[in-house]
């Protein structure tokens, strides 16, 4: 029984990490006031570019660099449209979603379904993996998972305990005020959107280089949307996003396993749970019946235009 539970939890962590990169990136991007609906497309671009690099060079380090660059480049284009040209963010997000899924399928056609020679392998962390149960769950994972253990506390520290983090939060609440005190609103939004997209691309790489070791068209299979929903679910908070990701990961892994024990409930209903939970969480945390200030950035989805201030 313990072995069963550890295997489920360990798999839930792998699942959680593959959406957490994108979710944490999107939290930064949305905290800066830019909603990027194109995560799924950018994840696919990350997945295919990472896989192609590994396929031709067998170098995982190089692949990670390429993935981050591809993500940042797409982020640059997205920021140009939404920050400089003040384009509608919903429409832009859709454009990137469609472009990303089309282009990734286009350039990855020749390597579809072929396994690469290397992938991020799991390794044990010396002492820590010896802890019973916990060691098996948390410390027998791959590099991308361990990196996430560092990213979550760092991003919490950054957002809530540093001056740039405070500026980031203000960026999504009241960019005009920041502009008035001489902070470069446009530059910062560019930076955070690019960071968000780079993280989304790494999320994609998690799927093609660690979860599996092949590329398939549309292989993210809606994980980008789960990452997107996680942002609202978590109340724009990376630590809560991590818990949420584990919960969603757990649900989906259990959903697969429960088919064996509870054939009465079809797997699709487990699949619906994250989305239903997000709607519920969104109502509870941002509904206007609440007296408290909501975590949803007030300037989210609004482009900042100096002339119409």
């Amino acid at each position: 029984m313990t072995a069963f539970i550890t295997s489920i939890l360990s798999a839930a962590i792998v699942y959680a990490v593959s959406i957490l990169y994108a979710a944490v990136g999107e939290i930064f991007s949305q905290r800066a006031g830019i909603m990027n609906l194109g995560i799924e497309g950018i994840m696919l671009m990350g997945a295919v570019s990472g896989f192609l690099t590994v396929y031709y060079t067998n170098s995982l380090g190089l692949a990670l660099i390429v993935v981050i660059l591809v993500g940042a480049l797409l982020g640059l284009a997205f920021a140009f449209l939404t920050v400089t040209l003040n384009a509608d963010q919903t429409v832009c997000g859709m454009a990137f979603l469609i472009f990303g899924s089309g282009l990734s399928g286009f350039i990855g056609k020749n390597v579809t379904g072929i396994a690469s020679a290397v992938k991020f392998e799991k390794f044990e962390i010396p002492l820590l993996s010896k802890i019973p149960v916990i060691g098996d769950i948390f410390f027998r994972q791959d590099l991308l998972v361990y990196m996430m253990y560092i990213i979550i506390p760092l991003s919490m520290l950054y957002i809530y305990r540093t001056r740039p983090g405070m500026i980031l939060r203000a960026l999504g609440e009241n960019p005009a005020a920041l502009d008035a005190v001489g902070i470069n609103v446009f530059g910062l939004r560019y930076a955070y959107v690019m960071f968000g997209c780079a993280m989304a691309a790494v999320s994609g790489a998690c799927i093609s280089l660690s979860y599996t070791n092949f590329w398939n068209e549309g292989m993210t299979g809606g994980k980008g949307w789960i990452a997107f929903s996680l942002v609202a679910f978590s109340g724009w908070n990376p630590a809560k996003a991590a818990l949420g990701a584990l919960l969603f990961g757990g649900i989906s892994i259990i959903g697969i396993n429960m088919q064996i024990y509870l054939p009465g409930i079809p797997s699709q209903f487990y699949g619906m749970l994250p989305y239903a939970a997000t709607i519920a969480a969104l109502i509870l945390t941002t509904g206007s019946f609440r007296k408290k200030h909501t975590e949803e950035p007030a300037a989210l989805c609004r482009s900042y235009d100096r002339e119409s201030r």
Partner: protein, 387 residues
Amino acid sequence: MRIGTVQIEKRQIVPPGIRILNSVLFVLLALVFSSLLIIAAGFNPIAVYAKMISYSFMSLRGLNGSIKAGLPLMLCGLSVSVAFRMNLNNIGAEGQYAAGALLGGWFALFGPDMPAAAKLIVMFLLCAAGGALLAAIAAVLKAYWNVNETIVTLMLNYIALLFMDYLCYGPWMAPKQTSAITEQIPKDMFLPNIGNTGINSAIIIAVVMALCLYLFSRYTTAGYEIDVIRNSVKSAEYAGINVKRKIIAVMIISGAIAGLAGFVQITGIVHRVQAQLPGGNGYTGIVVAYLSRFNPIAVIIVSILFGGLKNSCAAVQIMGVPSQIATMLQGSIMIFVIAGEFLNYFKLTLNREKHGPGRLQDRSDMPGLKEGCKGKENYTEMKGASR
């Protein structure tokens, strides 16, 4: 701003001619950009484009295929443009399409036996109701609790699609089938083709819907009120428009139209319900609506063009080009047209005068304004004193 003798001005109202010219220009730029990607993949872009155009639009058979592929897009595009006109980001056309298809499909598959016309009418209404119901959830949440409608409609998409998956893989799955499809709907519910053109009569539904929406937004009070709400919710409330009720009404109409995409697809094209029936048309509908500037008549035309793009995949696949080229082109066209949008708001004129036109007046020395400011100061002072 002036560069040499060229004067750059901002404008508020963009003439339709400029809009169309601008869109065409940036679509061409998108094709140039995509041709670089096509070259990188080792194909000749001119040959690929020529093949796509000649296959989709130059023959009657190809054109029929393009219209067929564009049919659900038309209704999704109309649905999105209704909501977006009021700044309601309903990105749930995909799910509303699925919900409509499920409710209408349920009736078509398992409903009582009735005359064909009656069955079609009931199914039409049920499809609209299915889409409207799903949209109503997001609408009520938005109107009363100001919950972000973008996220809610998106989440509902997945819930509806998964439910569709469940039905098509489970209780509705046709026996002796390996894929997730149901039985065919009764033959008398198939919508016929128009004459012997090969174009399905379902297109009439889309065109009539577009005309109605156009007339509605142009000539009715409600249509005008929606324009007011788009421009400023505060002034709409001040003018006594019931914004909450408008949000709910517009979302329900938008959802109902998306639900009708299900009707069109089931009765006109596939004749059954299947998993993933919307197949991304709900999302592409957003692209179509945006490219048409939310103008219902333009939605019909752009849908046929996008249908053609989708349709031409088969032709270029023979040349070895991956079929994903269509999706890639759709995406890049959209990105470029969005980027070109800002150019609409600038007017370039040649200016031979030496001095600037003096449009920007220094308003600070206008007597009326100064008085106004003073009055306001006095008012605040008084308010302070009374406190």
